[in-house]
Amino acid sequence: MMDGKTERPLVRVEQVSKEYAMGGEVLKALNGVSLTVGYGEFVAIIGPSGSGKSTLMNILGCLDTPTSGKYWLEGEEVSRLPENRLAEIRNRKIGFIFQNFNLLPKLTALENVELPLIYRGMKGAERRERAMEALRKVGLADRTRHRPAELSGGQQQRVAIARALAGSPPVLLGDEPTGALDSKTSGEVMELMLELNREGHTIILITHNMDVADQAKRIVRIADGVLDEGGGAACISPRD
């Protein structure tokens, strides 16, 4: 799993920096970050507030582009691709799970889950079937016609996970997916993520919660835009 050099890694980030111009000064949110994640991994990124976690995650999710550096996703260099290609990559290769769920309030759970498949151009019957399957996987087969406002926080996040899963992308990204949930529901959502990982899904997530991080196979620390994998995952998290 750790020898990403021999087989093609899922995610490979090299010397990525992100700079923001703030009133004449340049703020380096990310400073030469390199990271490699293989298929089937479960990586937790931790670090203090403002350290650049979300910035990194947005770049990994192709929502944002780095100022410099390179990013290979399944062997394809994606850091300089035009917006339309990026949209396609977000649609097919990435399942993004947000802290605040980011469901469309006017759509039902099923319709929310169908949405990425609609943008993929998938036809009605197959699309509904795939979306239903994703909802079953997160245990919400009986809530398909509910709107987000009619669901609890944990249920909403599970709908969001189903949406990320529906297109069966190679990697699931979560920016503090349990950050808005109480400890009990957050435990349930983490259990779901672990289950998905056991089924073979690659997961990268950000968390502030050490209990959550401890359940990951590998922990990456970030501080002031610099990555530190010191100690490695094995000594912190002796799972599997």
Binding site: E88, R90, N102
Partner: protein, 390 residues
């Protein structure tokens, strides 16, 4: 993404904001509605005028004596000479005066026409009873009258007036004929009149000469030659100026009617353009607000794989759906308003499929043009910026 999906999304969004959507449509609804109604009324009116002009008889020339210059009147004898022109079928000189008709205690103010025998076939009148005015009546200044059906009914009720005597401005006339009902037209009733011999009318109203002559040519082909000859003769009679008379033909009248309705259509087109422009700006305004309001939604859609084109389509379909729906409601409103007007004011309202198609097409165009800018604005948002938007 498929078009059908975009349409579904648009309807969803329109339905979830019903009041706002309807208010947005209002500009287009009123614009299209007023265009459909006004153009319908305009077309109906010009069709009526056209029919009226045509019902005067085809191949018709009208000579009007304006009475200016040294020689200011056309003598009856001169006017009937026109009948001798090659290609002329009928020539009917006539004067018309308002007078009061009395029968017993019943009275009516009507138009009294002094003319000759040619007047009836030329104007397309038929007899219900009795006879028309004849040449002998003119030769002997007979005090005889032929009544229009409405006038007869007003004075005599359902009785047959033929053989009775009426008083026209106090003078006794024998009713010799009753005209069949002809119905009314845009220019008024054709049945409220009394016809008397021209020579009698000249004496009675103390006006020597005729004011107008109807001349009907045998055919459309003969019309030009007849008109040239009539004008030549008139020029000889009125030696000091051609502003003493006017000769109209059918084509001139139709042309005038056409130019009037053309101007009308242009004015209506202008109103349509302005109101639809206002409607379009309304749509743009709301769509811009909607883009700002839905920035997060756009961000979410982009984050899960919507392309620029998908977002553009979504907003464009939405604005076109609003404007097309507005157009459709406008067409309905216009048709209803047209029907209401035609039943209230007795004007024919003619709606053409072309006009309806045109205003629908224009509404859709409005949606595209005024939706393009907001849609483009939405499509060009960067996903990360849109997601961060609060």
């Amino acid at each position: 993404m498929h078009f059908a999906q975009g349409l579904k999304m648009a309807f969803k969004s329109i339905r979830s904001n019903k009041l706002r959507s309807i208010l947005t449509m209002l500009g287009v609804i009123i614009g299209v509605g007023s265009v459909i109604a006004l153009v319908g009324i305009g077309q109906g009116t010009s069709k009526q005028i056209e029919e009226q002009v045509q019902s005067l008889g085809t191949n018709l020339l009208t000579v009007n004596i304006l009475g200016r210059g040294v020689t200011s009147t056309l003598a009856y004898e001169e006017a009937v000479q026109f009948a001798g022109i090659e290609g002329v079928e009928y020539a009917a000189p006539y004067n018309s005066n308002n007078a009061t008709l009395k029968y017993g205690t019943a009275g009516a103010g009507v138009n009294v026409i002094g003319t000759n025998a040619d007047y009836f076939p030329l104007r397309g009148y038929e007899l219900a009873a009795g006879r028309f005015i004849t040449q002998i009546d003119l030769d002997f200044h007979q005090k005889v009258a032929v009544l229009g059906s409405a006038t007869a009914e007003e004075l005599f009720g359902s009785e047959n007036p033929v053989g009775e005597y009426v008083r026209i401005n106090g003078v006794r006339y024998k009713v010799v004929g009753l005209l069949a009902e002809k119905g009314s037209s845009a220019l008024g009733s054709n049945d409220e009149l009394a016809v008397i011999p021209l020579t009698t009318a000249e004496r009675m109203f103390r006006s020597k000469g005729v004011r107008s002559v109807y001349i009907q040519a045998e055919s459309m082909d003969a019309l030009d030659a007849v008109q040239a000859e009539v004008e030549a003769r008139l020029a000889k009679i009125f030696r000091n100026g051609d502003d003493a008379y006017r000769v109209f033909n059918q084509a001139d009248m139709l042309e005038t009617a056409a130019s009037v309705s053309g101007t009308l259509s242009l004015a209506l087109g202008g109103i349509a353009g302005i109101s639809l422009l206002v409607g379009g700006i309304g749509i743009m305004n709301i769509m811009l607000v909607s883009v700002t309001e839905r920035t997060r939604e756009i961000g979410i859609r982009k984050a899960i794989g919507a392309k620029k084109r998908d977002i553009l389509m979504q907003f464009l379909i939405e604005s076109v759906t609003i404007s097309a729906l507005g157009g459709l409601l406008g067409v309905g409103l216009g048709l209803a308003a047209g029907r209401a007007v035609s039943s209230l004011v007795k004007i024919d309202v003619v709606h053409s499929a072309d006009m309806i198609a045109l205003s629908m097409g224009f509404s859709i165009l409005i949606g595209v043009v005024f939706g393009m800018y907001p849609a483009n604005k939405a499509a060009n948002l960067k996903p990360i910026d849109a997601l961060r938007f609060e």
